[in-house]
């Protein structure tokens, strides 16, 4: 069963414990001056696999308020990055995480161009850089545990479980509290669905979410083209060979000699 995470952003108060847990578990360096993990400037970079960004909004009663959004790879159900990789260095696992195999990666960075959410980052300052993104603690998930960031959250912002059950849970929470939530589960249908799902009381675009994304799986578009190629290749080769032999024969009849078009030195 494919796992997922439901993030209820109305519960997050921005402590950043999840970002610390992530750094500790994945042994990533800290650079809060240049690459902060928390606050308005927080952004995903090579050493930040998850960040908590702060957003100034207006709450339902019209007062200024803060909202916090935990960001990381969304682990798409049908990931564009995995379909784009020419060596299969990025793979969707059965348990849900989309994971990276650096020993296969050649560093073409097509995954970075392909990702609809601009998640994969690059170690630009290394001689032999790796692609860098959240792995959803796949060794923990495989062992039946929840990812490190979820385990440490003091306010149970995130719920870990089967994705299908979480989608139902999300809709149940919206139905139970219609005044609070925006009637949308971010990640349910975005790019064909993602393992990470979000609930919010604010429009998602205000919390830095990329909302203008296609609602269907992106690799399906490419596959429409790629799946036709073998037939095109065979058909085209047959047609070209046919034209070649017809012209060759026509020439040899016309000139009374053989193979006047064969060979570059002819």
């Amino acid at each position: 069963m494919s796992k997922g995470v439901l993030v209820d952003m109305t519960k997050c108060f921005g402590c950043g414990a999840c970002t610390v847990a992530c750094k500790l578990w994945n042994e990533k360096k800290y650079d809060e001056v240049n690459k902060p993990t928390l606050g308005e400037q927080a952004q995903l970079v090579d050493i930040n696999w998850t960040v908590v960004s702060k957003h100034d909004v207006t709450d339902k009663s019209g007062h200024p308020a803060w909202r916090f959004a935990k960001k990381q790879c969304l682990h798409c159900v049908d990931p564009a990055c995995a379909s784009s990789c020419l060596v299969g260095a990025l793979r969707k696992t059965e348990q849900g995480p989309v994971i990276y195999h650096p020993d296969l990666c050649v560093g073409c960075r097509y995954c970075m161009v392909a990702c609809p959410f601009n998640i994969p980052k690059y170690e630009w300052d290394k001689s032999f850089p790796k692609v860098s993104k959240c792995q959803m603690c796949f060794t923990r998930v495989a062992a039946g545990e929840q990812p490190a960031c979820i385990a440490v959250c003091p306010n149970q912002v995130m719920t870990f479980g089967d994705r299908d059950a979480l989608v139902q849970e999300a809709h149940k929470r919206i139905a139970d509290n219609k005044e609070l939530y925006v009637n949308h589960v971010f990640g349910e249908t975005e790019v064909g669905g993602t393992a990470w799902l979000y609930l919010s009381d604010q429009p998602f675009a205000k919390l830095g979410f990329k909302t203008a994304v296609p609602q269907e799986s992106l690799p399906a578009y490419t596959w429409q083209i790629l799946s036709k190629l073998p037939a095109i290749l065979l058909g085209w080769t047959a047609i070209l060979s046919g034209i070649y032999f017809i012209n060759k024969r026509r020439n040899s009849i016309a000139e009374g000699k053989q193979d006047s078009t064969g060979g570059p030195q002819a």
Partner: protein, 397 residues
């Protein structure tokens, strides 16, 4: 050592000295890049692809389309009047693909693993298909040009062995080119939602392929005009007129498809919105489609003979138009999704310039010493010291 019974020659000119200078800088930059990685570039997380992917891969492959198109016109369609341009076209395509391969290698972050795709297949990836086709087609081009090289160094039997392979090589080469020329477009199908809708369409593979088939002979025309000036060749009017007509008809098909696609997808409003994207798109269409097609069809409909000036001007316009189109897809169309700007660093610029310089030097060396151009007007050299070409890593691709 002799080639075709003559001493090896390489005439030194100021132009060639400048090229050698750029090539030396190039060797230094390559060494620095291989050791220190991509820090010398201005690439960022927002702009993972830059100048090298644009010039060395996207544009290089499109402009090297002259190899498979002219070979197809001559060997498959049996149009004999284009014979004088076939060998030079295959030579430039071969060198072009060697440069593309080397440029791509420089762009790979973990370049030492360049051979991984041969064993670890990402069969759902357009990039995988592109990689395999470019690799195989470079081998095909090497075999297609091999007769000239082996004949030059006196190995006549090896030369005629490769000559006997011509038909399958040419047909296989066209099939492989069809696949990867279109793949350069298919690659961007995955960027739905990121690439501006003026360029994003499911027809990207067809548009890329047809524009490559049109621009290949146009590039051959430009090269022939340039080589003709340097080596004082006669202008072969029947061959060049045929290529101009070929490009004209294929570009008409491309333009028809491009404009209908924009209209069907309701993008004509965006085309005339006069923002950056729309202006760049209009420039691309004006230079690459509207102007050359206007000249082509006005000559055609008035029944006028196409002059050399008109043919070369049309070819230059089409080459510029395709360069603008590829640049717009890589840069202009992706700028909004990136959110920041990108300008190549000096290192990126000089690596691309240097790579091109090496290519030109190798081209000049081969043209001067081997039977590439028809024998009667082959350039006769004054005796000078032999200079070795710096074909750095050509075989790597």
């Amino acid at each position: 050592m002799t080639i075709n019974g003559n001493r090896i020659t390489f005439k030194m000119t100021p132009f060639r000295l400048i090229l050698i200078g750029f090539s030396l800088i190039f060797v230094g930059i390559v060494a620095y890049r291989l050791v220190n990685g991509l820090q010398m570039t201005n690439l960022t997380d927002a702009w993972p692809w830059g100048l090298w992917i644009f010039i060395d891969v996207k544009l290089g492959v499109a402009l090297a389309a002259g190899g498979f198109t002219t070979a197809g016109i001559y060997y498959v369609l049996g149009v004999k009047k284009v014979k004088p341009v076939v060998k030079p076209a295959i030579l430039t395509a071969w060198l072009g693909y060697c440069l593309v391969g080397f440029g791509l290698l420089m762009d790979l972050g973990r370049w030492y693993g360049w051979w991984h795709p041969i064993f670890s297949w990402g069969e759902h990836s357009v990039m995988f298909e592109l990689y395999m086709c470019v690799l195989l087609y470079t081998i095909v081009l090497t075999c297609e040009f091999a007769p000239v090289l082996f004949k030059g160094i006196g190995l006549i039997k090896v030369s005629s062995f490769f000559t006997s392979l011509t038909a399958p090589l040419v047909i296989g080469g066209i099939a492989l080119s069809t696949m990867h020329q279109s793949s350069l477009g298919s690659m961007y199908v995955l960027t739905l939602g990121k690439l501006n809708e003026l360029w994003w369409t499911m027809l990207l593979p067809v548009l890329y392929y047809s524009s490559a088939v049109a621009v290949g002979p146009a590039m051959v025309t430009c090269e022939t005009a340039l080589a003709g000036r340097f080596f004082r060749h006669d202008w072969d009017a029947p061959a060049m007129t045929f290529l101009a007509k070929w490009s004209g008809y294929v570009m008409s098909f491309y333009a028809l498809l491009r404009f209908s696609d924009l209209a069907v997808r309701g993008q004509l409003g965006a085309l005339f919105a006069l923002d950056t994207e729309s202006l760049m798109c209009l420039l691309e269409l004006a230079i690459g489609c509207v102007l050359p097609l206007f000249f082509f069809w006005s000559y055609k409909l008035l029944g006028r003979e196409m002059t050399k000036a008109m043919i070369v001007r049309n070819a230059v316009l089409m080459v510029l138009g395709v360069a603008l189109n590829r640049g717009n897809v890589v840069f202009t169309g992706m700028a909004k999704a990136a959110g920041t700007s990108y300008f190549p660093s000096a290192g990126e610029l000089f690596l691309s310039i240097g790579l091109l310089s090496v290519g030109i030097l190798v081209y000049l060396f081969i043209v001067e010493n081997f039977d590439v151009f028809p024998a009667h007007d082959r350039y006769v050299n004054t005796k000078k010291e032999p200079v070795q070409p710096q074909g750095a890593g050509c075989a790597r691709a």
